[in-house]
């Protein structure tokens, strides 16, 4: 393989260095590297990060290839600076067997844009009744470590307890979509003053918080680790903070959209803002940012949820829930966390690469930018300002809440094991 010299990039936002990639690994990090045989990437003023890792991506294949495929989803991931994504299990058929997770894993390998680590369903068909063959999924070629019924909550306390206990055998983690089903029947948006005015069914914060409270207690009881998907309320933050103060093995993620958008946007009845968990209040947004900054929330996860145009071009109640997020995640994190001074670029590396890779037990990702490490890298131009135009997305879907918004930062290059998947902002 050829050599690549990234010249003058600020590593994790710190000092400018040259980084020489040879084949699949970082060969040298130094000042003034000369390499006549290398392709040079001039990166003065740019930030070099470990390749981003997403714990929560919906690639839709198999079953909903009209929304996204593993190929289009991984292309979108690469554009967003990701070198690895975890593919959620709510496909058709559900990824609840070794066969399906291996299919997704192989499609990811064939795509070549981004590593795809399948997430296995906790229960058969996501129905919450019978444990899926967690061991078989772990033992398969896909090597599943993260299990989730995401899209649905494992609401049966006994099933949740058993799952938490069972995955200890292979250091797995259960990622919970915390949503108490009875409290959210008919729910359309955050329950509050806005839902009352708009006449839309409320999704109360307590429906999330009560499940999180139960599950951190369960995880502590059985001595397992639990991961909380897409935290969205200030109360959820407090529960996770308390659980961590006890020394329990609890981790949590937050989506970019929950760091920026509020339920006030639902006043437009535009289904592009319909998402689960719903957009909450300004107070929740601020609490989530603070929690991501202080480490209560471990990482950012996109919950990239592509939907075809017709599933959003309709009335609110009929619309699908979810937003695409891979291609805008880093920009939203820069705007909400970096440009506000809450975290620096090293913090971004930690929350968008290091921690998600650790939680997913993903070898080769989230590593330091230093000699001998796999060359999974992301180069960002933080000074860039651009207006989001979904027409240019690599994703097959366009359901972004940021259309027409100006967001900072742009991924200029993404390297997957030394091979450029994105060059100058475009797919290689």
């Amino acid at each position: 393989m050829s050599k690549i010299l990234i010249r003058g990039a600020r590593i994790l936002g710190g000092e400018a260095r040259d980084v020489l990639i040879d084949g699949t690994v970082v060969e040298r990090v130094d000042i003034g590297i000369d390499a006549d045989d290398a392709t040079v990437v001039e990166a003065e003023g740019q930030i070099l990060l470990p390749g981003l890792v997403d714990l929560h991506t919906h690639l839709r294949e198999p079953g909903r290839e009209d929304s996204e495929t593993v190929l289009t989803g991984t292309r979108a991931a690469a554009v967003g600076g990701f070198t690895a994504v975890h593919a959620m299990a709510n496909t058709f058929p559900v990824a609840d067997t070794a066969g399906v997770v291996e299919q997704v894993w192989r499609l990811g390998r064939e795509s070549g844009y981004c590593d795809v680590q399948p997430v296995g369903a906790v229960t058969v068909g996501l129905e919450g009744k019978q444990l899926a063959e967690l061991g078989a999924m772990h033992d398969s070629a896909a090597g599943v470590r993260v299990f989730s019924d995401d899209g649905k909550c494992v609401d049966d306390a006994v099933i949740m307890r058993r799952a938490l206990e069972y995955v200890k055998a292979f250091d797995g983690v259960v990622a919970q979509h915390a949503q108490e089903p009875r409290l959210t029947e008919g729910a359309q948006m955050n329950e509050g003053i806005v839902s009352s005015e708009l006449g839309l069914g409320g999704w109360p914060a307590v429906a999330e918080e009560s499940i999180i409270a139960r599950d951190v207690l369960l995880a502590a009881h059985v001595g397992s680790r639990v991961h909380i998907c897409h935290l969205s309320t200030a109360g959820s933050v407090e529960i996770v903070r308390w659980a961590k103060s006890k020394g329990w093995n609890v981790t949590a993620e937050v989506t970019p959209h929950h760091l920026l958008l509020t339920d006030e946007l639902v006043r437009t009845y535009n289904p592009v803002y319909k998402v689960n968990p719903p957009l909450r209040t300004e107070a929740d947004v601020l609490a989530l940012r603070e929690a991501l900054a202080d480490g209560t929330i471990d990482c950012v996860a996109t919950d990239h949820a592509p939907h075809p145009h017709e599933d959003k071009d309709c009335e609110w109640a009929a619309a699908a829930m979810g937003m695409v997020g891979l291609e805008t995640a880093l920009s939203v994190v820069q705007q909400t966390m970096v440009d506000t001074g809450l975290i620096d670029w090293a913090g971004v590396a930690d929350r968008m690469s290091v921690r998600p890779a650790q939680i997913g037990r993903l070898a080769g990702h989230g590593r330091p930018v230093s000699a001998g490490e796999p060359a999974n890298l992301t180069l960002v131009d933080p000074a860039y300002r651009g207006v989001v135009d979904p027409a240019g997305f690599a994703s097959r879907s366009r359901n972004t809440p940021y259309q027409g918004r100006e967001l900072p930062g742009r991924v200029t290059h993404t390297f997957l094991r030394g091979r450029a998947t994105v060059v100058d902002g475009n797919l290689a």
Binding site: V194, S196, G199, L200, R267, A317
Partner: protein, 346 residues
């Protein structure tokens, strides 16, 4: 213009929410409705005003009185009326709201009166670029029902102020009590907004389970005690309470609900003289209202139906005459096609 805290953006050329109406807009509609009501007293109850215009009644939910009311209103203004109900239509075969709207647009609908089970559907119809015609919300989910609020206000003004004396006036200082399932009631939402705009003092009475989260921020008072509020009420609006709410544990039994929040003769006797009892219908006799009250002279339920036609005539007339609520200088009723928006009142 009144807004609930952060109310939705205005929707000119349409009537989607009671929040779209300023005090002057609302009084203009009520005054126009008075003129329309006089048409009903004539031997020939028809004006040529909307001849050649097409009004579509687009009803995705079962409704008898509202649909008939809009149909009568449009026909009395000589509009061509197309009734579309979802039952037995292509909607039941999976056609979307957007596809239906595009079909109506191709047919040249000047106004679409929409009733839909999903809150916000009229707003989407008016703001998605699917159609060019005026959109009138005839009830969407648990969101709003602005023409019901207008006809209720019209009924109150007639009864509490007087048909002729009320012209040009609002409901300043009138004390209105709305009782029942506020949580699921689009009628209550629209009424709170409109009555506040018109200067009335509104009190909501319901068990806490049937009040929306955040209701304390609405421009009204809230009480759990009907008996304390009745003596200070110029009008008491009883809302229909669906029996299935009991099964969802909003209240323990029908009997308990009736005892605590139902209006019977004994309670009505505690209301001030000349006060009225209202009901948007259909009534659950024996649940929220006894037959004795429903059939009394104080109860305006039947009048409300008649007033609904006049009020909806006014709304259709003004909107199809080019009114953009909140920025209006609107024509008075003429007996020809709508005048331009700058013409003086007669």
């Amino acid at each position: 213009m009144l807004r609930l805290p952060g109310a939705s953006p205005r929707t000119p050329g349409h009537l989607i929410s009671a929040a779209d109406l300023t005090r002057d807009d609302a009084v203009l509609i009520l005054d126009t409705a008075e003129e329309m009501a006089r048409v009903a007293d004539r031997p020939i109850k028809k004006l040529p005003t909307l001849r050649g215009r097409t009004v579509v009644n687009l009803f995705f939910e079962d409704s008898t009185r509202t649909r008939i009311s809009f149909e009568a209103a449009a026909k009395r203004l000589s509009a061509d009326v197309i009734n579309f109900s979802a039952k037995g239509s292509s909607v039941s075969k999976g056609e979307s709201l957007k596809d239906t709207a595009l079909t109506l647009e191709a047919m040249g609908a000047d106004a679409v009166v929409i009733r839909h089970g999903s809150s916000g559907a009229p707003y989407r119809l008016a703001n998605s670029g699917w159609i060019d015609g005026a959109v009138i919300n005839a009830g969407d989910g648990t969101h709003e029902h602005p023409t019901q609020a207008l006809l209720d206000a019209f009924t109150m003004r007639r009864r509490l102020v007087g048909a002729d004396e009320g012209i040009g006036r609002d409901l300043e200082g009138r004390r209105i009590t709305i009782v029942g399932d506020i949580l699921h009631s689009r009628v209550a939402r629209s009424n709170v907004l409109l009555l506040h705009t018109l200067g009335a003092e509104v009190t909501l009475v319901a068990p806490p389970t049937l009040l929306p989260i955040g209701v304390e921020k609405w421009p009204c008072e809230v009480s759990y005690d009907l008996d304390r509020v009745l003596p200070k009420s110029d009008a008491v609006m009883m809302l229909r309470v669906q029996r299935e709410r009991m099964n969802a544990a909003f209240f323990p039994t029908e009997r308990e609900y009736s005892r605590r929040y139902g209006l019977d003769g004994e309670r009505m006797a505690r209301m001030p003289d000349n006060s009225i009892v209202m009901h948007p219908g259909p009534m659950n006799r024996g649940m929220e209202i006894t037959a004795e009250v429903a059939d009394s002279d104080r109860c305006t339920a039947v009048e409300q139906v008649a007033n609904g036609v006049s009020t909806r005539m006014a709304v259709l007339y003004l909107l199809l005459g080019g009114a953009v609520f909140n920025t209006t200088t609107v024509p008075a009723v003429t007996h020809s096609r709508p005048a331009s928006a700058t013409e003086e009142n007669e």
